[in-house]
């Protein structure tokens, strides 16, 4: 979701520099992947997780050569602002004081998938699973925490700021969590591959990177 804001800002700058007009289609990665798979016209796919990109790549719908990972993100545990809970490690989530833990859908939504992977890696998933409330997306998870019906939630660091009624209680260390990356690539059926490549290139630039960083993303350096 934070991609929306940062991309909008980057595009405004970009459009001033070049003559190209950027048309966005914002949506859940899974939705976008489905749309591209069904032949919806698009030039660039900017996915929130690798799996969706892999899926399209396997179907031969994207230009492998242009695929790159520039952005990363961090998971955080959020709690309601008024909460006095102290969370120092993942195992604190098993605390009985936390009745419910809100996650984005752990099967379909990247944030949820990552959160589940993290907890599995910590071998806490079986203990936490009964408390998990899967919401449609990150916003749903935040809303659940806001309303205090969930004692805690796991979301992206970049999204934690969306709600003023939650605070970050714990930031998942990079080595504990799976690598969170945002791959982007040119769609094969693109009608203007050159312009697409140009914008992809710009997204990888220093200037764009600064914007992303300002929104809390981590810049990665693989390819």
């Amino acid at each position: 979701a934070s991609l929306t804001d940062s991309l909008k800002q980057i595009a405004t700058t970009y459009e001033k520099q070049s003559s190209d007009k950027i048309i966005f289609n914002f949506g859940a990665s899974s939705t976008l992947a489905r749309q591209i798979a069904e032949g919806a016209p698009a030039d660039i796919f900017f996915s929130a997780d690798e799996a969706k990109m892999d899926g399209l790549e396997k179907k031969g719908l994207i230009d492998q050569a242009t695929r790159q990972n520039r952005l990363g993100n961090t998971l955080v545990v959020v709690i309601p602002v008024g909460s006095t809970l102290a969370i120092k490690s993942a195992s604190d989530l098993t605390n009985a004081a936390i009745e419910k833990i809100a996650l984005a859908d752990t099967k379909a939504v990247p944030a949820g998938i990552y959160a589940k992977a993290w907890l599995e890696k910590q071998q806490l998933w079986p203990a936490v699973e009964p408390k998990v409330v899967a919401t449609e997306n990150v916003r749903g998870a935040l809303a659940a925490v806001e309303s205090e019906n969930a004692g805690a939630g796991v979301v992206y660091k970049t999204d934690a700021g969306i709600s003023k009624k939650v605070k970050i209680a714990y930031e998942v260390p990079a080595m504990d969590a799976p690598k969170i990356s945002y791959p982007m690539a040119l769609v094969k059926e693109s009608k203007q591959p050159d312009a697409g490549k140009k914008f992809l290139h710009y997204l990888a630039s220093e200037e764009a990177g600064q914007v992303f960083q300002r929104f809390g993303f981590i810049l990665l350096n693989d390819r």
Binding site: R34, V133, T135, E136, R139, E146, S147, E148
Partner: protein, 224 residues
Amino acid sequence: MTAEEWQIVWFTAWVSALSTLAILPFGLALAWLLARRDWPGKSIVETLVALPMVMPPVATGLILLNIFGRRGAVGGFLHNTLNFDVIFTWRAVLLALGVMSFPLLVLFARVAFEEVNPRLEQVARTLGASRWRVFLTITLPLAARGIIAGTILAFARALGEFGATIMVAGNIPGKTSTLSLAIFQDVQIGDDSHAFRLLGVSVLLAFIAVWCSQFLLRRKKRTP
């Protein structure tokens, strides 16, 4: 079908039916007031009733969450005094389905009530029937066609409701997961064959509802 799927089907069927039943009395009462009485602010209420129809379901869900969450006015009160939670329980599913299908029922019933000839109600009263008896024995049966259609539609809407439900009830397998939610998840992760199987079940439920309504209507016709 797996046991898990059966559970979802059962849960969806009964929670949809229950939500429809639950809104029936309020829906009919409001529809009657809209159809037969003039009162200040009527058209405001009319629009308010239609709101869950007009707003994107997430927005409705968010508002419900604001009201019924522990921080919300109603939710907070229930939690603090009765230790009773709505959000993320099956009650939240009920709430979401009810709110989302309420406008359909009200508007259908309203039109149905408006079509009832008031002369019949008047004459029923001269035969010694109280306002209440007239409503039950004249108005309601004569409006039955529209009310049954509205009820079926409300039920269908409940079967298909997704956006508001997931906001207030989450998608907790075995607890709040409905067919709609399960299908959504399947579609998202690309498990189309499973999605279509569940879709088939939804459609079957809808068929059953439509057939029941036609059976009711046909019996109504034959009775006299």
